[in-house]
Subunit: 322 residues, 2 copies
């Protein structure tokens, strides 16, 4: 058996996805389990370690055959010291040196990266962005995150805080964002933003298909329901989607004028909408970005699906040990 | 005499500034002349060549002692082919292979870069940004431009169009911009934007100190007059400055969340306002950017003054030949 294997661990608020892969990204074994985040960091780290041991043992792989472990975790992360804040979906995590804890328990070099950066590296190494030199990855789901591959390498910035594409101000006096500021892209174009706008229609008593789908309960409105209502011809729902896509396009056009990438890879739950999401983004880029830069960028859908985080974490480990 | 010399040429809409430098950036000779842009590209290129010959001849330097020439020119530039559009202040320039023309006439390798990118490289190599790994340069004058130094190198993007920081949309339905779009940072926070807001006060008949400074003529209002009126206590003028600085701060905060630089170097005519400009930018960065990233960045004034373009062009040449 090869001694050139890697473990990738994707730590999410609800699930931990762990893979054992070879250098080509082929998944040799996988473990998928609940995070049970409410039990706090120590219990969650035990669960991550157990998952790592299991993917190795289940494939008859010794820890000495694994060159490195990569971990993708929700930000804020200061790559110099570990996790520096409590992500909303991981209560109790503050200044947790997650990489060090995993490394010392497994006795395998371990590298920590924020989840969106890891996903960007995954799509670049194994997915839609293979072979590109400058690539922007954007994930649109309940939140909006991103990662930059520049000159073929992950660009993390001075403290690992680069590419926070969801927290660029798009509308200075716009709606409040989960980050505490206002008018961020995430507050305008994420699944959460779309659901919030849908719920508001119900609260204002506007008759829409969304109300039927949600059983009249604003608290039950999801982005999926708004998208479904729009697909069924509901005009109000379509306006919500159109506005969100316009803002998303604006955010992407800004990235084209700043990063001038060859490729923009869009992932996350909302990317499942396909061209309904990608076409408005492409149009706005051509309307809002400089022509040479707009002509140079291909906007495509991510390829790795639910495994993007774990494969990305493995790619972080591979890039770290070269 | 050394054979490790460089020529830097800064091509502007009104002036051509040409320097002969040693590898440390010491200026051995300099030529400063009018562009006379209305005469078109051929005449202007002749003038650039004459300036290059003169800085060499005046220092008794043969062209064989010059390793490379750098040229900074207004965008849009596609570094793959040369200048691809007509900058508003250089009429008649379209698809001009400027680098090739200079190189073949001087018989010295010549490297073309857009002026803001060249200036960024100049401040990084010889100015305020010496020794930094990740640096953002922003120039605020009649327009707003910028350049990114990432991992110690100029980041130009796929086609040389990166770091167009003046043409990021800050206010989706905001004022028209010279680039043809709306609500760009340049349309909100440049000298041109400040002058436009000042002129509007006069057109609406608002009594302000600006009107006195401009002799009552809206067409004569400059950003300098607005700044002077504000400094003398004019409330309306102060509001214009405050709003422009708020937008500038927003744009810079967005860059902190995207690039996570160690240092942000602010140059251009408006940077002469010093802390009046820098302090609101620093405050907005701390209010709008993530804390780890905001704490990690120093916002400082550029150091190279009027020679930033020419020294930057020389730095482009040095970086190209290493």
């Amino acid at each position: 058996m090869s001694t050139d294997l890697f473990v990738g661990i994707d730590l999410g608020g609800t699930k931990i996805n762990t893979v054992l892969v070879d250098p080509s990204g082929r998944i040799l074994n996988q473990d998928y389990r609940e995070t049970q985040a409410r039990e706090g960091p120590d219990a969650v780290i035990e669960r991550m370690l157990d998952a790592a041991f299991r993917v190795m043992a289940g494939a008859n792989v010794l820890s000495t055959q694994v060159r490195a472990v990569g971990v993708g975790a929700p930000g804020p992360i200061d790559i110099r010291v570990g996790m520096v804040g409590s992500p909303p979906n991981l209560p109790g995590w503050f200044n947790v040196p997650l990489g060090h804890r995993i490394a010392s328990a497994l006795e395998i070099p371990t590298f920590l990266e924020n989840d969106a950066n890891a996903a960007a590296l995954g799509e670049h190494r194994f997915g839609a962005g293979r072979g590109t030199r400058h690539m922007v990855y954007v994930t649109v789901s309940t939140g909006i995150g991103g990662g930059f591959i520049l000159d073929g390498k992950l660009y993390s910035g001075a403290t690992g805080g680069a590419a926070e594409v969801g927290h660029v101000t798009i509308l200075p006096h716009g709606p409040h964002c989960g980050c505490g500021r206002r008018g961020c892209l995430e507050a305008l174009a994420s699944g959460t933003a779309i659901a919030r706008e849908g719920a508001e229609l119900l609260m204002r008593g506007v008759p829409t298909r969304i109300a039927e789908l949600a059983g009249g309960d604003p608290g039950r409105v999801s982005a999926k329901m708004v998208a479904q209502a729009a697909a069924e011809g509901d005009v109000e729902a379509q306006e919500i989607i159109d506005e969100a896509m316009m803002y998303l396009g604006l955010g992407m056009a800004n990235l084209v004028n700043l990063i001038n990438p060859e490729m923009m890879v869009i992932g996350g739950g909302l990317a499942n909408m396909g061209d309904v999401l990608l076409d408005p983004v492409r149009r706005t880029i051509h309307r809002r970005a400089f022509r040479t830069a707009a002509d140079a960028v291909r906007v495509v859908r991510a390829e790795l699906g639910d495994n993007v985080g774990a494969l990305g974490a493995a790619a972080v480990a591979m890039a770290a040990v070269k």
